[in-house]
């Protein structure tokens, strides 16, 4: 595996391998010294064209735990702000010969383009409303801590599906792991044709009881002014997950940041069924596993730059 651009291109085997690796990093994380030397001397660039707290911090920390040198470039205050094109920015950053570029962009397909323009491995940390594959992988990892398998489980994704890259990547990932997925939200926020991705569609929560997992999405306030929904009040009345709607055996997830009192009632956020904090924890180890998979995998091909660095140092070779 050279790049992680979307769940769409991931095989079940690749997902399993990343999740197993993440499990072993979770064990490292319980030691006093949490750092491993795997990526010593390698450079990882985080290129973020959108504000991000958890994704950026967890990628930075994941790179550091693997002993890589990490640089984070944010659009504000950089040459991006001065009108430099994505292509030129990537060319500039590629001059440092990074092992990986982690990119977040407000535009679909940005990671695919970067992969075309650089020799580094590219990780999509969210491209427009298209995909957010590392989020989906950490969500599957989190669920597997609580359910033996996703095979045959019922997962409901509730909220603004139209504007959510998390919804798309999770839908694809949950389907690949064998789950049945229902997307639910106001008809104005469910994209036409979403059924083609292999999910059911519901416009109300009446059948939410069948769900083993309820995955709530962030409801952005801007959507009111664009008249996707008449008011937050009406939205909350119809779609808010609260203790009345959430059964005791159902698990609750949310990609954060939460709008308390909009998509989720406060009592469910802090309930034992809520995996929201566990998701953040998983984010770190899953991103470590992804960096490991892409940057140390045996099939990593970089023929243009001469022989790839040996994975296991041999005698006579400088370490």
């Amino acid at each position: 595996m050279k790049h992680l651009l979307g769940v769409d291109q991931l095989s079940r085997d690749e997902m399993d391998r990343i999740l197993e690796r993440a499990q072993s990093f979770a064990e490292v994380g319980r030691r006093d010294i949490k750092k491993v030397p795997t990526l010593r001397g390698r450079t990882i660039v985080n290129l973020f064209y959108e504000a991000s707290t958890r994704t950026l911090s967890s990628f930075e920390l994941a790179a550091k735990r693997l002993s890589a040198d990490v640089v984070s470039v944010k659009s504000a205050g950089s040459s991006v702000d001065k009108g430099e094109s994505l292509k030129d920015t990537v060319a500039t950053l590629s001059a440092y010969d990074p092992a990986a570029i982690v990119i977040r962009s407000p535009h679909a397909g940005a990671a695919d383009l970067v992969a075309r323009w650089t020799e580094a491995s590219v990780i999509n940390a969210g491209d427009g409303k298209h995909e957010h594959p590392t989020q989906a992988l950490l969500d599957v990892f989190t669920l597997r801590q609580h359910l033996d398998s996703l095979e045959g489980t019922n997962i409901w994704i509730v909220g603004d599906v139209l504007h959510s890259r998390v919804a798309r990547s999770c839908l694809l990932a949950f389907r690949k792991m064998g789950a049945r997925v229902t997307v639910c939200g106001p008809p104005t926020l469910i994209p036409r044709g979403i059924e083609a991705l292999g999910c059911a569609v519901s416009y109300d929560l009446d059948a939410l009881g069948e769900a083993d997992v309820v995955y709530a999405l962030r409801m952005q306030r801007e959507r009111m002014s664009e008249s996707f929904v008449p008011s937050l009040r009406e939205y909350a009345a119809r779609y808010q997950i609260d203790s009345r709607r959430l059964g005791p055996r159902q698990l609750l997830m949310h990609p954060g940041p939460v709008n308390r009192g909009v998509e989720l009632a406060p009592e469910v956020i802090d309930s034992p069924q809520s995996l929201i904090t566990a998701q953040v924890e998983s984010g770190l180890v899953v991103r470590m596993a992804i960096l490991y998979e892409l940057l140390t995998g045996s099939d990593r091909a970089r023929p243009e730059r001469g022989p790839a660095p040996a994975d296991t140092p041999t005698i006579g070779q400088p370490a």
Partner: protein, 459 residues
């Protein structure tokens, strides 16, 4: 009005088609298959051009030599009336880094075109006689094939006030269009349709309800849902067509609907035509051969307005072209610089080039598999000027020579030798197509020779 040299019609009115002046050519194409459905011609014969006019034909090898005439071996080749494109963007004035009249007409000639009609969404737009005069002056210096220029319907393409349509018509506007943008306000369009009684000139319409299409970058459907990109629904086009056909009927006006993309649009046109609306319409090679599946690549070369739609829409366009609901093929040739296309799909400029690949793409994807007969394709690619008062070229003795000489078996990879256009945002780039234009005669003059073919002639 014929596709002929400048001003040959005479009269006080300015000629509608402009190109660089030059003397008519002498040329003999020996033994090619001459195909002109309109003249009921399909035979292997010699085709003779004398002083830019088609002379009497002769049996293969039978045409007498003319002093100084170029002689071309047409064995195995196809000679058809050259094509007329009612819809190109040549970016003059203001965006000559994408295309100018010299590269644009060369690109057109390379695709077998003998005349094109350039749209007016330039910078500044062609909304005054002064701007129109300046681009016509440049065409007289730079255009290797005749170009007609439409002028805007509204000032600054703002959709609010009409341009001085009567003066623009006198100054040589071949028709009127705000193409690139719809005329959203129905009352403004109604005034323009009324004013047509004074100014003349067909009004060509880019049909899009801007409220329904707002924010969209591709067809709305399963693929936009999967890619998370905002969709442009097909109804944003079809509802505008329905509205504007009603207005045209009410005012007794003549409209030309540009670049149909959807089944619902074809159905609206069919309804309008049967109700007696004076409406013609066009479809593009890319909408006739590609679908929104291509957008899965997230490659901005597949971004154009209207967007590529579904296979069902594509089939409806093909059926419409076959049964005559769709009158003609138009490329909507829209050059863009690489920095406007090598960006994420949502950010990229709208439009694709298409003049050099129109025939080959349609021949490869529709004629060779037996979907459409060659005669029909030639007919629909030559009649694009008719809505604007330009007669389709013919292979008949006594008319100005407008000829596309084609090797129908030559397979070539699009873009491998570059493009004649200044831009290379061609959506067929990298694909192998069959059928290549080797030589184009436009308004009696040789406007293009394919490089390898030209070398062959020289030896």
């Amino acid at each position: 009005m014929n596709v002929s040299a400048n001003g040959s019609e005479g009269g006080a009115e300015a000629p509608k088609l402009i190109s660089r002046p030059g003397a008519g050519t002498n040329l003999i194409i020996r033994g090619a298959r001459l195909l002109d459905p309109r003249s009921d011609l399909d035979a292997v014969r010699d085709l003779v051009v004398r002083d830019g006019e088609i002379a009497e034909g002769a049996e293969p090898g039978g045409a007498a030599e003319i002093d100084g005439a170029e002689i071309v071996d047409g064995d195995g080749l196809l000679a058809v009336p050259a094509f007329v494109d009612p819809h190109v963007h040549f970016r003059v004035p203001g965006q000559e880094h994408k295309e100018d009249l010299e590269t644009g007409t060369r690109s057109a000639a390379a695709g077998g075109y003998c005349a094109v009609i350039a749209m007016a969404n330039t910078s500044p737009p062609i909304d005054s006689a002064a701007v129109l005069g300046s681009v016509r002056d440049r065409a007289e210096r730079e255009a290797s094939i005749p170009v007609g220029f439409v002028a805007n319907v509204t000032r600054g393409m703002e959709g609010r006030e009409l341009t001085e349509m009567a003066e623009l018509a006198d100054a040589g506007a071949i028709g009127f269009s705000d193409d690139g943008l719809p005329i959203a306000n129905a009352n403004v369009l109604r005034r323009a349709l009324q004013y047509q009684r004074l100014a003349g000139g067909v009004i060509a319409l880019h049909e899009e309800d801007p409220d329904l299409s707002a924010g969209g970058v591709m067809n709305e459907g399963e693929i936009s849902a999967a890619l998370g990109m905002a969709g442009v629904p097909a109804v944003s086009e079809s509802t505008m067509i329905a509205r504007n056909c009603s207005l045209a009927l009410y005012e007794g006006a003549r409209i030309h609907v540009q670049h149909l993309s959807a089944r619902a649009s074809v159905e609206e046109i069919a309804r309008a035509k049967s109700a007696g609306v004076q409406v013609t319409c066009e479809a593009s090679p890319h909408h006739l051969t590609l679908t929104d599946e291509a957008v899965r690549s997230l490659d901005a070369r597949f971004k154009m307005n209207p967007p590529l739609r579904t296979e069902d829409d594509r089939q409806a366009l093909i059926d419409g072209l076959r049964d005559g609901t769709i009158d003609c093929v138009a490329t909507d040739h829209a050059p863009h610089a690489s920095e406007e296309k090598e960006v994420p799909f949502e950010e990229a400029a709208w439009g694709v080039t298409g003049l050099e690949t129109a025939f080959a793409a349609l021949y490869t994807d529709l004629v060779l598999p037996g979907v459409l007969p060659l005669e029909l394709l030639v007919e629909r690619m030559t009649c694009g000027g008719e809505p604007f008062g330009i007669e389709a070229p013919r292979l008949e003795a006594g008319v100005t020579a407008n000829i596309a000489l084609i090797d129908p078996e030559l397979a070539w990879t699009v873009g491998e030798d570059g493009y004649e256009s200044r831009s290379y945002n061609n959506c067929f780039g990298g694909r192998e197509l069959t059928g290549r234009v080797l030589m184009t005669v436009a308004a009696g003059r040789v406007a293009f020779r394919q490089r390898s073919f030209a070398l062959g002639v020289a030896t």
